[in-house]
Symmetry: C2
């Protein structure tokens, strides 16, 4: 039997799978805290829909909500994403190797010029303007 | 309006949100390719359930399936995970900063001993057992 229970990771990836939830996180990134109405303002979804998304983000540990009087402040908690990144980093060598192979291919072909100058030098050189010869 | 459409990222995070799918990817990591039956063998889920998970992984671009005769070979395609990592890396400074603050705190308190010996020395010393006085 393969051991694969990691409910925290399920919640994090599931929370990040929705574009509105990712956009809510992105909006919180540059702020210390935002009220729910300020946070929801640029989105074309209803306030109850935003509240549902915030519940999912909160369950995944990606935000905290704090009530002061009638205002609820929402704060980003990015640390659980480190868990997701750690999981992904196991596979990093796959695309790193592909990039290395690409670099090796380019280095192994030194006679091939991939630079922008090739394109320029292929252009026909500018013809010097014919200078009008003055009659003596 | 916040612009947040990125359906590829939806598919990738959604595919990674399931523990069986993550375990299928982990199983493919060390192999060049696996037949579906070999891949499904250690899992306590039905073959049709595995097939459904493979469809989700394939839609997210995380595996390829190739049919040779009656055998379907499954291969890992890790590159789309680079896209997910790139998205997450935007938030990396949050936990990196927290680790920096923790390191600064430890360095700023050189007289404080966080080692296990502090805990031991705080224990009250063992009282010597009272020795029963023998009557003369």
């Amino acid at each position: 039997m393969v051991k694969y229970q990691d409910t925290a990771l399920n919640d994090i990836f599931s929370a990040l799978a929705d574009p509105t939830r990712r956009a809510l996180l992105a909006r919180l990134e540059g702020e210390d805290a935002l009220s729910i109405s300020a946070l929801a303002q640029p989105f074309e979804v209803s306030l109850p829909a935003v509240m549902k998304h915030l519940n999912v983000l909160s369950d995944a540990g990606l935000i905290t909500r704090e009530k002061t009087g009638r205002t609820v402040s929402v704060r980003l908690q990015a640390e659980p994403m480190a868990h997701a990144m750690q999981w992904l980093s196991r596979y990093e060598h796959f695309w790193a190797e592909r990039l290395d192979r690409l670099a090796a291919f380019v280095e192994a072909a030194p006679d091939t010029d991939f630079g922008p100058e090739t394109a320029n030098s292929a252009k026909s050189p500018k013809r010097p303007k014919p200078t009008a010869k003055k009659a003596p």
